[in-house]
Structures are given as structure tokens and as C-alpha cells.
């Protein structure tokens, strides 16, 4: 028997991570950066969630109880900005960092230093945004859409809001370029595009959407900045501008943003369902093309958010029809996920439970979206609580459930320990029950005429609001179980995970040990 002694002079480059805080600040390792994104997103989940609970506490009964209306508006605005830019996008970027190199057999991202920068911009942007809460005039209160002229009434916080959006945009653009290049140029030999796992595919398409949409948001907020401080009048009718122009520009970013949030969740669901059905994904190529079709359509539907601005009939028809067409590729995906489960050998571990709940509840949110796509009907729904119910169904049991399914699915691979299945199931059931208790009554509130973004309401809305608020607190408390599950896993409290973790899961990430070593695929794997 012989022993191989590594005397290579560069051996120290292949050593484990540095120790202490500098490991995290200077890291260029995709797994470390993925972990940073995930932990940042988890922290923001609780910050943004706390703001939502302030909103729901105020709305528990009519009248003003806890906060003044201006602070209420700050909470609705900051909750949305933090959840969209600070929570869900970083969480999916975290999964992308962890999993894309592992799934394509690459040693790291294409630009590791850029990757470090993409992440470390985020906490500063987030801190800048949160610091506005302590400024004269308070935090932004005009809604996350930042419509002028209302947003121009923001106090000292306005330039900080704009600069933080710029920073968040830079972070996203850098990350998306890194992801595109990694997928196009770092795949292992034999890993053709149509052999890539669906999560990597959905991220490739998401990265293109980010690259196209984020500069538009940066442009829009820069125009707000110059309108406020440099004498331009892009959005000021008195100076020859048009406030509706902002809405067009914002939603040209804003609607793709919805798909930027949901496509990676689609990718995770497309990995989880085949694993726990013990069958390959039904219609793999159709899933890829459907994702691309959804992404393309998302770029040409933006004005369905603005049916009430008074656009010409041709415009209403165009945006109504293109929006409805999105249901076709989305239907393909829902059908294929269902067909994957058909006659599968199903088991219901926590990731699968979240994936199945995703299927039902995201579809429900999609259906209410179709209702709004009908322009004449939307004029009734516009700015009502029905909208709040719709987008929360798409974003919470949609995007957040996708992220939770991914977290439970990959946590054993990331930490090396199985999560506590009992606690995971408890978390699932409480979350699923309370998410419906929170958001389902909001449909009725909206249809009965309750407007969104108000701290007080007429008496007839009391009961449904009370139910919704109880649901929100239940949902919030249930997430503490998830926090405990994650802490337990990181501290190594449970059973050790095997390398494959699940029964015959597909994908290269399951061929490396659990926890995944600091460096993987230094020699590219052969993919057949």
C-alpha cells in the first residue's frame, strides 16, 4: 500500500476556509457567499416580517390603535422594499451561488471576486434603506412603487432611498452577469444546456431578466432624483413632463421583477417534485421553453398594472391579451409538475409538502391574476385589498414556499445534518394554515371595496381584518420554528446526512459528500 503525499507548492490554495470574520468578508468561495446571501435573506425575512406585523396589528380593528397613519405608510413601503430586494432576491441568489456551480460541475462562479462584491454591496444598501427610519420625515411612505409626485414629498430619506435602490440594482446586475457567464462558460464536459437541472435553467433565464430590467429601475429612480434636486421635469406636468411616464418605466422593470422572484422558485419545485416522486421530471424540454416563454411575455405586459390611468382601448386589449397568454406556459408547468407526480412513488417529506402546497396555492394566486388581467374588471379591483391578496398568494405560498422547499431540500447537503423532520412538518402545517388564514379573507375585503394602504377602515371590514391579523401573527410565530430548525442543523444537532440525502435524487450536487466540501469539482466531472 502506498501513501500519496501532496508536495505541490500551491497546496495551500486548496486548503479550507480562513478563520474568523475575515473568512466572510474576503471570501470568494461560492458556498461561503451563498451562505452569506441566505443568512442575510433570513435576517431580512424577520425584519420585513416584523413590519408586516405592525401593519396587521394596526388593522386588527378599525380606528387608529398603535401607529399614526404616516408611520403606517412607512411600514407598508419598507415591508415591500425589504421583502422584495432584501429577502427573496438574496435568498434565491444564495441558492444560486450554492447550487449552480455544484449542478453544472464547476469549481466556483466565473468571477469569484465580483461575487464577493455583489454580496457585500447588499448589507450597505439594506442599512442605508433601514437608516431612513430615523431621518427627519421618516422612511419612504409612498409605496414600493415610488410613484411621483407622491414620492417627491418624502423627506430627507428620498436620496437615501434612491441610492440604496441604485446599490441593490448594481448588486443584482453584477450577480446576474456572473451567473450567466458561469452557466455559459463553466459547465463540466458533457453538461450540455439541455442536460442542466431546471434550477440552473430557471436562474439562467432569471439572470437575463435581471440584466434587462434592473437598469430600467435605476434609470427611473435617477430621473426622480434629477426631478427633485436638479430642476428637470420628467414626471412633472407643470414642466412638460408626465407622471404616468414613471409608471410605465417602473412597471417595465416591475413586472419582470415578479418573474425574477418566481422563476427560481419554479426551478426549485422542478427539482423537489421529481425527487420525491422518484420519477424524472415530465416534459423537461417543455419546462425550459415554458420558462423562456414566461420570461419573454413578462417583458410585454407591464401596463396591466396601470389599466386605470386612461390608456387607449388598443393598449388595454394588447396588455390584457398578452397577460392572459402567460397562463399558457404557466399551465404547461403546472401540468408537468402534476404529471411528474402521476403514478410516482410519492413520499411527503417537508420539501415535498412545501412543493405540493406551492402547486395549489400559487395556482390560486395565478387565477386571481387572470381575473385582474381583464381590463374592465381590473378597474374595480385596482388598488383594493383584492390586489394585496393576489400578490401575496403569488409571493408567499409561491416564492417563499419555493425558497422554503429549497431550504429543506438542500439544507442536509449544505450543513451535513438532516433537519428535524417533525419540526419541519410542524412548520409546514402551521405556515400553510396561517398563510391562508392571513391572505384568503383579503380577497373578500377587496371585493367588498376595502382600499389597500390605509391604516383605518369602515366597520363592515372588521371581521375579515381581524381574521387576517390573527393569521399573520400565527404565520410569523411559525417561522420561529424554521429559525430553530436552521440553527439546529448548522450546530449539527441531528442525524448525519448521507451523501445522496434522498432516494436517488438527480443532479451533480448529490455526488459530492455532505456537507459539501469547501472546494468541489476542482477536476471537472464527466457528464454522460
Amino acid at each position: 500500500m502506498s501513501t500519496v503525499i501532496d508536495t505541490h507548492p500551491d497546496a495551500h490554495h486548496h486548503a479550507g476556509p480562513a478563520r474568523g470574520i475575515m473568512r466572510w468578508i474576503t471570501t470568494t468561495n461560492h458556498k461561503d457567499i451563498g451562505t452569506l446571501y441566505l443568512l442575510f435573506g433570513l435576517a431580512m425575512f424577520f425584519v420585513g416580517g416584523g413590519m408586516a406585523l405592525i401593519v396587521r396589528a394596526e388593522l386588527f380593528q378599525p380606528g387608529l390603535q398603535f401607529v399614526d397613519p404616516h408611520f403606517f405608510n412607512q411600514m407598508t413601503t419598507m415591508h415591500a422594499l425589504i421583502m422584495v430586494f432584501g429577502m427573496i432576491m438574496p435568498v434565491f441568489a444564495g441558492f444560486a451561488n450554492w447550487m449552480i456551480p455544484l449542478q453544472i460541475g464547476a469549481p466556483d462562479m466565473a468571477f469569484p471576486r465580483l461575487n464577493n462584491w455583489s454580496f457585500w454591496i447588499l448589507p450597505f444598501a439594506g442599512a442605508m434603506l433601514l437608516s431612513t427610519l430615523f431621518m427627519p420625515g421618516g422612511a419612504p411612505a409612498s409605496g414600493w412603487t415610488m410613484y411621483p409626485p407622491l414620492v417627491l414629498q418624502t423627506g430627507d430619506a428620498l436620496p437615501f432611498l434612491i441610492f440604496s435602490v441604485h446599490l441593490l440594482g448594481i448588486s443584482s446586475i453584477l450577480a446576474s452577469i456572473n451567473i450567466i457567464v458561469t452557466i455559459l462558460n463553466m459547465r463540466a464536459p458533457g453538461m450540455t444546456l439541455l442536460k442542466m437541472p431546471l434550477f440552473t435553467w430557471t436562474w439562467l433565464i432569471t439572470a437575463y431578466l435581471l440584466l434587462l430590467a434592473m437598469p430600467v429601475l435605476a434609470g427611473a429612480v435617477t430621473m426622480l432624483l434629477t426631478d427633485q434636486f436638479f430642476g428637470t421635469s420628467f414626471f412633472d406636468a407643470a414642466g412638460g413632463g408626465d407622471p404616468v411616464l414613471f409608471q410605465h418605466i417602473f412597471w417595465f422593470f416591475g413586472h419582470p421583477e415578479v418573474y425574477i422572484i418566481i422563476l427560481p422558485a419554479f426551478g426549485i419545485i422542478s427539482q423537489v417534485i421529481p425527487t420525491f416522486s422518484r420519477k424524472p421530471l415530465f416534459g423537461y424540454a417543455a419546462m425550459v421553453y415554458a420558462t423562456a416563454a414566461i420570461a419573454f411575455l413578462s417583458l410585454i405586459v407591464w401596463a396591466h398594472h396601470m389599466f386605470t390611468v386612461g390608456m387607449p382601448l388598443a393598449g388595454q386589449l394588447f396588455f390584457m391579451l398578452t397577460t392572459m397568454i402567460i397562463a399558457v406556459p404557466t399551465g404547461v408547468k403546472i401540468f408537468n409538475w402534476t404529471a411528474t407526480m402521476w403514478r410516482g412513488s410519492l413520499t411527503f417529506e417537508t420539501p415535498m409538502l412545501f412543493a405540493i402546497a406551492f402547486l395549489f396555492l400559487f395556482t390560486l394566486g395565478g387565477f386571481s391574476g387572470l381575473m385582474m388581467a381583464i381590463a374592465p374588471a381590473d378597474i374595480q379591483y385596482h388598488d383594493s385589498y383584492f390586489i394585496v391578496a393576489h400578490f401575496h398568494y403569488v409571493l408567499v405560498p409561491g416564492a417563499v414556499f419555493g425558497a422554503l422547499a429549497g431550504a429543506y431540500y438542500w439544507m442536509p447537503k449544505m450543513t451535513g445534518y438532516m433537519y428535524d423532520e417533525k419540526l419541519g412538518k410542524l412548520h409546514f402545517w402551521l405556515t400553510t394554515i396561517f398563510v391562508n388564514v392571513t391572505f384568503f379573507p383579503q380577497h373578500f375585503l377587496g371585493l367588498a371595496g376595502m382600499p389597500r394602504r390605509i391604516p383605518d377602515y369602515a366597520l363592515q371590514f372588521t371581521n375579515f381584518n381581524a381574521i387576517s391579523s390573527i393569521g399573520a401573527f400565527g404565520f410569523g410565530i411559525a417561522q420561529l420554528i424554521f429559525l430553530w430548525v436552521v440553527i439546529k442543523c448548522i450546530r449539527g444537532g441531528g442525524e448525519r446526512a448521507t451523501d445522496k440525502v434522498w432516494d436517488e435524487p438527480a443532479g451533480l450536487e448529490w455526488t459530492v459528500p455532505s456537507p459539501a466540501p469547501y472546494h468541489t469539482f476542482e477536476t471537472p466531472p464527466e457528464v454522460k
Partner: protein, 43 residues
Amino acid sequence: MAKLAAMDPQRRARSIRIALAHVAVVLLIYLAFIAKQALFGGG
């Protein structure tokens, strides 16, 4: 640690080319749009 991904200079050069090409295409799309607005007006 960055060394790992940068091991192959040819691959690294190709990565940079792909990144720059994407940035250039996005810039061209928006420049074309701005030029169209400037020359032919909005709408």
C-alpha cells in the same frame, strides 16, 4: 481561492468576453431606444 476558477487563462478570457458582450448588448438596446425616442419622439 479565486485561483480555482481562474486556473485556465483561456477559459477566464472567454468568461470576460462573454460578460462584456452581454453588457454591450444591453447598452446597445437601451441606446437604440433612447435614440429612437430622441429622433422620432415618444409614443
